[in-house]
Amino acid sequence: MIDYRARFRSNLAIAACGLAAFAVVPFVANSGLMFLAGLVAINIVFGMSWNLLFSGAGLLSFGHAMFFGGGAYAMALVSLHWPGLPFLLGLAIGAGAGALIALVFGVIALRRASGVYFAVLTLVFSELIHLVITKTTFLGRNDGLVGIPRPTIETGLFTLDLTSATAYYYFIVVAMACAAFALWCFQNSPAGRLIQAIRQDNLRTAFLGTSIFGWQLTAFVLSGALAAFCGAVMVPFTQIASPEIAYWTVSTQPILFTLLGGAGNFWGPAVGAILFGAIDYGTRAMHGLSEITVGTLLLLVVLLIPGGLLGFLQHRRQKKRRKPTEPAPKRTEAQP
């Protein structure tokens, strides 16, 4: 039998190590690196939100930029037009925007399309939203919305000042940790297991008496809300919401993170996002090199180690552990 509680504890330990690592960044790195680390933290959860669909529900989305961008623009609009609104409420509106986009799109698309067609539909929808943004004056057209202030949070007891980059960096780390925790709880809840089951055999789940459509839609909406939350958290950090964050290349980012790190593992997108950030930073002097490196790595992962980096390590470890007890069967010398 599976020891669920032990699994929970070990994941908590991993999360604590990760949090500690992110917490020391401002002490050991310059502001440029801290900025990068903040984006990586956001990307981790962005990747996880995509992986909830891919590994969880078995849906391939090539349009996650529409949620990310939707959340970012909602946040930007709220903070520019209603500066009095509590910051956390703004974040909730951002996430809600993503959930709404996901709901509308999901209700239409999930019934009609599957597989590659679904992927292309997400791509088309997301590009549509990107185009609308670039043509709408209200949303700043190609220039985007600029000058978004960093917030202060009034709790009643004390005031949390997040106007400095470092303070907001810590807020990002905490917010992302909470989001990841909520996602973990969902994926390990009965509903999370059910969504997993739908991916593995949807006919069987239908004949357990569940609506496949309903649960796929649930996963889709949650994923959209989470991606939008990431976008909303990012906006005060970069202080700009530009149309590029709704462009389709952004949609491919979480795919990169997840597959590089390992789609089968909850922490895969985290490993991938950190790796991706490192490659991007390491090759920043030479334009084009980062794309080639990432592209080649991704290709290698897909062709040789579909489990990604974590899947590969796990496989190696299992092999090693098995060795002393049951050696691999020797190949028979005499072949017929």
Binding site: I2, L194, Q196, D201, F207, G209, T218
Partner: protein, 252 residues
């Protein structure tokens, strides 16, 4: 006895090919009703129509007095019709035990509300206990921790049966429950099915090829041929029916 499942004028066509033609079919509460017939007679199609896997082109299906013709398979499951598949359908990357957990939790989800989606980081004790009971009942002890996709053919079938039982159905539909098994496994499967039928008070609907299994289980037998029912009744009576002999022995 009352009919728990009643089908009237059932018609199903794939394109221009009519697979079922105006079929009337009754299943009494508590009986073990086996449908047999040569390959291509429409057994599987009848199964798919009754379970809701495919839509019918004409006729009505009533379950426990309620018209379920327009309901999806999932909705029929909620009303108490469970089913297995010819090739056992399970969740291959989960362990056998997790397969059971999913089945039990799915049955309970309507009572759980939002707690179902966030409330637990581990299955509840009651769920685990129920899964353990199913494991013992169906003799899955040796394989509970194995990844379900790696189980043997027979174990997969037993696991699927256990998952269906977890749904607490009134009517269980078994599609070729012993397909691909060795003779000794078949006898074991017959004993198992008889046992769960008694202990759960199930009505059974089966399709089956193997005659020993058929006569070992059936309390009622229906013969399907070219999409029509040519005989239905007590197994011994059906066995003696001249039309059935004609179909099976090919005396035209």
């Amino acid at each position: 006895m009352t009919a728990i499942l009643e089908a009237r004028g059932l018609t199903k066509a794939y394109g221009s090919v009519r697979v079922l033609e105006d079929v009337d079919f009754d299943l009494q509460d508590g009986e073990a009703h086996v449908v047999i017939g040569p390959n291509g007679a429409g057994k599987t199609t009848l199964f798919r129509c009754l379970s809701g896997e495919t839509r019918i082109n004409g006729g009505t299906i009533r379950f426990a007095g309620e018209d379920v013709s327009g309901l999806t398979g999932a909705q029929r499951v909620k009303r108490g019709i469970g089913r297995t598949f010819q090739v056992a359908r399970i969740f291959p990357s989960m362990s056998a035990f997790e397969n059971l957990i999913v089945a039990i939790e799915t049955r309970e989800r309507t009572h759980q509300g939002l707690r179902f989606t966030f409330g637990y980081i581990a299955p509840r004790r009651a769920v685990v206990a129920e899964a353990e009971r199913l494991v013992t009942e169906l003799g899955l002890e040796d394989t509970v921790d194995d990844v379900a996709g790696t189980l043997s053919h027979g174990d997969k079938k037993r696991l699927e049966l256990a998952m269906c039982l977890a749904l607490k159905p009134r009517l269980l539909m078994l599609d070729e429950p012993t397909a691909g098994m060795s003779p000794s496994d078949r006898a074991e499967a017959v004993r198992l099915i008889t046992r769960v039928r008694d202990s759960y008070g199930l009505s059974l609907l089966l399709t089956e090829h193997d005659m020993e299994v058929v006569f070992g289980l059936a309390t009622r037998l229906t013969v399907l041929h070219h999409g029509e029912i040519i005989a239905s009744g007590q197994p011994e009576a059906v066995r003696a029916d001249p039309r059935v002999r004609e179909v099976y022995l090919g005396q035209h």
